[in-house]
Subunit: 177 residues, 2 copies
């Protein structure tokens, strides 16, 4: 670990690239993430990312994977805290997660997922997320219905599609019960 100036080798460029991409995702959404800007922020040449990711989609998939980890943790924490019935707590946490990090949410549950044969680990993470969602929900169909509602409300809120939605937090409390 040399300390003189910038070493030729970064040390953990992969993580640094993901951090930079994550920040861009927060700032300007999916479209704001460019490999060149990510590299710029990591202080590295425009094509350095190709030593760690096959292509841009692979970087985004890794980003989504990170998202699913955070998502799982948030869900776990919500039920552990034990405010109300588990599936209600999960619904609230789901919506809060989406509203807090829209870019990350859209990336995780977005067209990338449909292309997940190319990213098996991403597929596995999404499957695991659904399995967790299903617990204590009263059967698969009921679970799908609540998941659908919460997921749909998340998208509609993010896209500001709901007229006179007012404060999102209040709307959530009113609708989730």
């Amino acid at each position: 670990m040399s300390t003189s100036g910038r070493p030729y080798h970064h040390g953990d460029l992969r993580a640094a690239l993901l951090d930079a991409a994550d920040a861009l995702l927060d700032e300007g959404g999916d479209g704001a993430v460019s490999l060149r800007e990510v590299a710029r922020r990591a202080g590295v040449s425009p094509t350095a990312a190709y030593r760690h990711f096959a292509d841009k989609e692979a970087l985004l998939a890794a980003l989504a994977l990170r998202g699913f980890e955070a998502f799982g943790a948030a869900m776990g924490a919500a039920v552990a805290q034990g405010a109300g019935a588990p599936h209600v707590a999960r619904g609230r946490a789901y919506l809060r997660f989406a509203l807090a990090r829209p870019g990350r949410f859209r990336l995780m549950f977005g067209p990338l997922l449909a292309r997940s044969p190319a990213h098996p680990d991403l597929l596995a993470a999404s499957r695991q997320a659904f399995t967790a969602l299903q617990a204590n929900a009263g059967g698969r169909d009921a679970a799908l219905r609540s998941w659908g509602m919460v997921h749909g409300l998340a998208h509609l809120l993010l896209d500001q599609a709901i007229p006179e939605a007012g404060e999102a937090e209040a709307l959530i409390e009113r609708l989730i019960c």
Copy 2:
């Protein structure tokens, strides 16, 4: 209307551009729509579209507007046909619309909508769509809940996020009731 070769003036280039963009949307989704390819398909120079749309986003907004018109028609037809309760018929039609034209659906209810201050007509169309959805739904909160569910299921199905979803049509019949 000169008949010798391609006339310098197209006649209705705006509509032709929208048609081409619509086709691209179906073929490869949002990301497949480029102004240059749209122009290519309309048989016109790469920048001709700028005589009809301020920028790419304006073209996409016009495309989404077209989508909302088709959407309104589909909803109207669904309740007019009168199979079951109106809001059930609408839910089915909503999901069928999304599954039939994923690109169009994602464009209509997507990040573009959140930027709709720049596209007032698009905003108006989306508001009107929600108003129609709200009819006979038993209050605004109930309407939001069903809209949320149907919208969420649409996205989850499009993104293939539901494990072992099998035939989408069957799933719809099972969940919507």
